[in-house]
Symmetry: C2
Subunit: 329 residues, 2 copies
């Protein structure tokens, strides 16, 4: 049987270099190519499982997100994978569709050491399954245990949106959202928004479209019906709409336009996330931009520290900015 | 030590049911919950590696895409994961950034049985590393070996774009692309476009912006400079621009608008992929829509057949459609 030593001798490198190539860790391009050619030429096959038994490390992490249809989660996964790859880790992606069973299946993988660590955007009632010392980084969501949480500054986001409406003379505004009500950072968006509006003398309402986290066709229809009912005596009730995501804002803008309401002349809209058209074009709606790349880097950095049993910060909050996308004045 | 039998007895289910839960396969929600509670209560820990040695199957597949920033790839990965999850498979995502070393690392994982199969959008010169009987499904790309290839009908796409320009009276059109020149289905876009235009009496040019597959800032700048040079005697040289992706089309539209050229009055643009604004809004550009969900389903279906050593079709081509996005007349 061909061994790792045979490969090293054939490639003219150390056994350590061959090992790094096998673990997808950083190796000079030249050496990597030589090792791969030797592996190919000698027909070397790694015994992964035997190697796993020894190392008890898989160099694999997993990320749980609702789906990759919302471009915010796709970007998050993109950058998490990129940063993990740079430190020799592979990434399993789990689209939970906010299904508790799927979330639990991946949490169990972390417990069973099938993956070394987990980054999670979860909403289900999975608290009791977590252990305080798990290599788990939560995004936005607070758990009872001392699980690390990385988020952007949702309170600041709500304040910025409110201030924009106050500064542009809005009189009556509304916050439209749907999603989980489990304790977490994102709930602060609506609260800070309403509080800031009221302090600024602007009437502010909240409209919650249920616990479903992804925006289904039914959810969109509900939002559209609601907006139709907001016309009283020929005019629209609100002059500012803040939504819990840019995807919501697009749905709202489309419906208002269909109803003959001018955006931003009659009604202003501010979304959340700061997404751009196909990630290269303009902002399709004015928005609160989350620093998605920095969030990914911070999550991976925290996760690797947890895996290596180094000290970590338990709450990291990154700043947000207002971006102009043509739906505000 | 707690065994799988203890868990089954505690949960009041068969060992087979516990095994299914451990492999993330389908189990009635009620049984799954009971098994998970027993695992939690008894503190059962699976010995993954010992299990792997026995089964020689990981129930994990991998997908290689350039990145998840282009929403087409993000949607593809989203649906591939969804379909794989339904048959009990997990998914590793590799953003290759078209780096040959990264592509090879994942091809080697398939060879070493670290993953059961691979779906790949690759462009590098990896042909020699492939084995004819590998559980690998290629998207768009042809390999020398008898590797399965799933794609949409790129020839039809090129023809549809050309026909639209012919029908709307264009006189002088151009195809703008960048990306790999390795043999594959996507090269047919440009060829069918130019051929159809010429048959229809419309002058057609091709402009190739190099082998880089993802659209970098430099690439965008090159496209912008090129477009600036297309103004002769105060008017723009072309009245129709077909691009190799919607992302390219957005870049082109933005630059033309900045140059004071009206789209679609002066110049029409047709992109490729059929993406929508944040995946819920309108089409930001007229485009040739690829059936991304059907492509994902077909890839997974073919991959599972390959893993199970069942017969498969080696070339599957799915139809495309023209979609109106405001950049054509």
């Amino acid at each position: 049987m061909v061994t790792i030593k045979d490969v090293a001798a054939d490639a003219g490198v150390s056994v350590g270099t061959v090992s790094k190539v096998l673990n997808n860790m950083y190796v000079k391009a030249d050496n990597r190519r030589r090792v791969e050619e030797s592996i190919h030429r000698l027909g070397y096959q790694v015994n992964t499982y035997a190697r796993g038994l020894k190392a008890q490390q898989t160099f694999t992490a997993a990320i749980i997100v609702p789906d990759l249809i919302n471009p915010f989660f796709a970007l998050l996964v993109n950058y998490v994978e990129q940063v993990l790859a740079a430190v020799g880790y592979k990434l399993l992606v789990c689209n939970s569709h906010c299904n508790e069973d799927r979330e639990l299946a991946y949490i169990n993988m972390a417990k069973q050491n099938k993956v070394d660590g987990l980054i999670a955007v979860t909403y289900s009632n999975t608290d009791e399954y977590l252990e305080a010392d798990m290599p788990l980084v939560s995004i936005d969501r607070h758990f009872k245990h001392q699980i690390c949480c990385v988020s952007s500054d949702n309170e600041m986001g709500g304040r910025l949106a409110a201030q924009k409406f106050i500064d542009t003379g809005c009189k009556n505004v509304i916050y439209i959202r749907n999603g989980s009500n489990v304790e977490g950072e994102t709930l602060k968006r609506g609260k800070a928004f309403v509080d800031t509006c009221e302090q600024g003398g602007v009437e502010a309402t909240r409209m919650d479209f249920g616990e479903e986290t992804t925006l289904s066709k039914q959810q969109m229809n509900k939002i559209n019906s609601f907006l139709e009912q907001c016309v009283k005596g020929g005019s629209f009730l609100y002059d500012g709409i803040f939504t819990s995501s840019d995807v919501h804002a697009i749905v709202v803008e489309k419906q208002l336009t269909a109803m003959g309401i001018r955006v931003p002349e009659d009604v202003q809209i501010i979304g959340y996330d700061g997404l751009r058209i196909l990630n290269v074009g303009d902002y399709p709606v004015s928005s609160i931009a989350q620093p998605v790349k920095e969030m990914a880097v911070t999550c991976v950095d925290t996760l690797i520290k947890l895996i290596e049993k180094k000290p970590v910060e338990r709450r990291i909050i990154l700043p947000v900015t207002f971006v102009e996308g043509g739906t505000t004045r």
